[in-house]
């Protein structure tokens, strides 16, 4: 019996200037639950100013390899447009994030949205695309107080950072921290 909750992809925005980036997924019953799980799993450390979640099932996903076979457009009513958020992966560089959010387009279907995105964002060439209906993405919110309550506690937990331990070495030239005195 399938008792899994749906999977939600999580997008984290590290600073006001950085784009939302795909960091991984969580299972959750609904969007609020997904946001809570996303915070616990992906924001145990700074930094974040906002999170988005979207049901994995609604994501229209294509890799460059898949697009070599073409991007067939469905026969749909062109007058019914909706907004799609566009995410792109453009580099094979070592990274802890996948897709970057690069913008949005209006289109009558996900495939049309992809076609528009390829035309609108040609550089750098994409290795993979995600097209997500804007109304399916739920945000942790722009409210500053809320954001502070969600994301600031991680900032004070400096002991979670390797930098808190300085240069630890047993060798004579190493500067050793004196460590806690209460042990």
């Amino acid at each position: 019996m399938d008792t899994q909750w749906p999977r939600w992809e999580v997008f984290k925005k590290d600073t006001a200037k950085k784009p939302y980036q795909a960091v991984g997924s969580v299972h959750a019953a609904d969007a609020d639950h997904a946001l809570l799980n996303a915070r616990n799993v992906f924001v145990r450390r700074p930094q974040a100013v906002s999170l988005w979640v979207a049901p994995a099932a609604v994501i229209f996903s294509r890799t460059a390899e898949q697009l070599e076979q073409g991007n067939p457009l469905p026969d749909v009513d062109q007058s019914v447009q909706q907004t799609y958020q566009i995410f792109r992966k453009a580099t094979h560089r070592r990274s802890m994030t996948f897709m970057d959010h690069i913008g949005q387009v209006e289109a009558p279907s996900p495939a049309h949205a992809l076609q528009a995105a390829i035309a609108q964002f040609p550089d750098p060439p994409a290795l993979a695309w995600w097209i997500i209906p804007a109304d399916q993405i739920i945000s942790s919110g722009e409210d500053r107080e809320m954001a502070a309550a969600w994301f600031d506690p991680a900032k004070t937990k400096t002991y979670k950072h390797q930098s808190a331990y300085g240069f630890v070495s047993a060798r004579p030239q190493g500067r050793r921290r004196s460590g806690a005195k209460d042990e």
């Binding site: 639950h33 996903s61 070592r94």
Partner: protein
């Protein structure tokens, strides 16, 4: 020509293109073509890795109530919490290959799936917490830094994120061990005892010798592993042994020495019988660890039930 032959030829062509992509340093993403064996190996490796993160909470979690200071307690809670998070990153990566969370959890709890041998050793004293951080997390980071280069995008990204966090685990352990190594006679005795028990299992956890690791050549060719077990083990010893010795500790291997000519550390024979015993379920704590994991799963049933009730409501609206 029969249809099957055509399929095989097509498969060979796709495999050649796939291997060329990997040779060019490209990352394979969910949706890209991949050989079935690549997919299966990755699901096996990633889910085992995820289970290891989960089981890894147990030996250290046991010491949270007994931490000698508030600082050490906060550090240890954060570390154990990280391991749970790392399990989540990895289950996510395996899910991109079509494995489901339920299948993986089921294989884990029924004992069908393996996890790292190291977590089947007991954590007998508080000093073990430090030694686990320095040696076990140190060895894991060596392995994970290698896996961060992995050809499969989702696994590689999970590893990059995990390595960034795991460095803290390693450093807090090393800091603690060095503090005690220069501390009171009792503290020195505790860390030496921890080293005596954890040195060999730490070497073993990096896996069998290359000669006894038949999957390695294909895993290397497909860029799943970028180094062999012996190469990673050598890196680990080269990094760790000089510092343990400089701290005045004795490594429990009389044959261990640095060979100037080859530039390699030479170690004594590893007890692979012990390793395979532990892998097959007969280590000192296998039953206890899996029992604790199952108990935690059962104890959490009411939470899942409550959330399922909520989910039914949420999903039907």
């Amino acid at each position: 020509m029969t249809k099957i032959n055509e399929m095989t030829m097509n498969d060979e062509k796709q495999t050649a293109e796939f291997e060329a992509r990997i040779a060019r340093g490209e990352k394979i993403e969910a949706g890209d073509w991949m050989p079935e064996a690549y997919r299966k190996q990755l699901i096996r490796m990633i889910s085992q890795h995820a289970h290891s993160e989960y089981i890894g909470m147990l030996p250290e979690g046991k010491w949270i109530p007994h931490a000698p200071s508030l600082r050490r307690k906060m550090i240890l809670i954060a570390k154990v919490q990280d391991e749970a998070g790392h399990g989540q990153y990895l289950y996510h990566a395996a899910e991109t290959l079509g494995a489901t969370r339920e299948e993986m959890m089921d294989a884990f709890l029924t004992g069908k799936a393996k996890y790292s041998s190291i977590f089947n050793y007991p954590s007998d004293t508080w000093a073990d917490v430090g030694m686990i951080g320095w040696l076990v997390d140190g060895a894991a980071i060596r392995n994970q830094t290698m896996l961060a280069q992995c050809s499969y995008g989702p696994y590689s990204r999970a590893m990059v994120r995990i390595c960034a966090e795991e460095t803290f685990h390693h450093k807090q352990g090393k800091e603690m061990v060095l503090l005690y190594a220069h501390g009171t006679p009792k503290q020195r005795e505790m860390v030496q005892d921890a080293l005596n028990r954890y040195w060999w299992p730490s070497l073993m956890m990096l896996g069998p010798h290359d000669a006894d690791s038949p999957n390695t050549p294909q895993l290397v060719r497909w860029g799943i592993k970028t180094k062999t077990n012996d190469e990673v083990r050598q890196e680990f010893i080269a990094e760790t042994a000089p510092e343990l010795l400089a701290a005045g500790l004795t490594i429990p291997d009389p044959e261990l020495h640095f060979d100037e000519e080859s530039g390699q550390w030479i170690h004594g024979p590893i007890d692979w019988d012990e390793f395979w015993q532990v892998v097959r379920g007969n280590g000192p704590c296998n039953a206890e660890r899996l029992g604790a994991r199952r108990q935690a799963h059962e104890d959490g049933a009411w939470v899942r039930e409550a959330l399922n009730g909520y989910a039914q409501k949420a999903l039907s609206t």
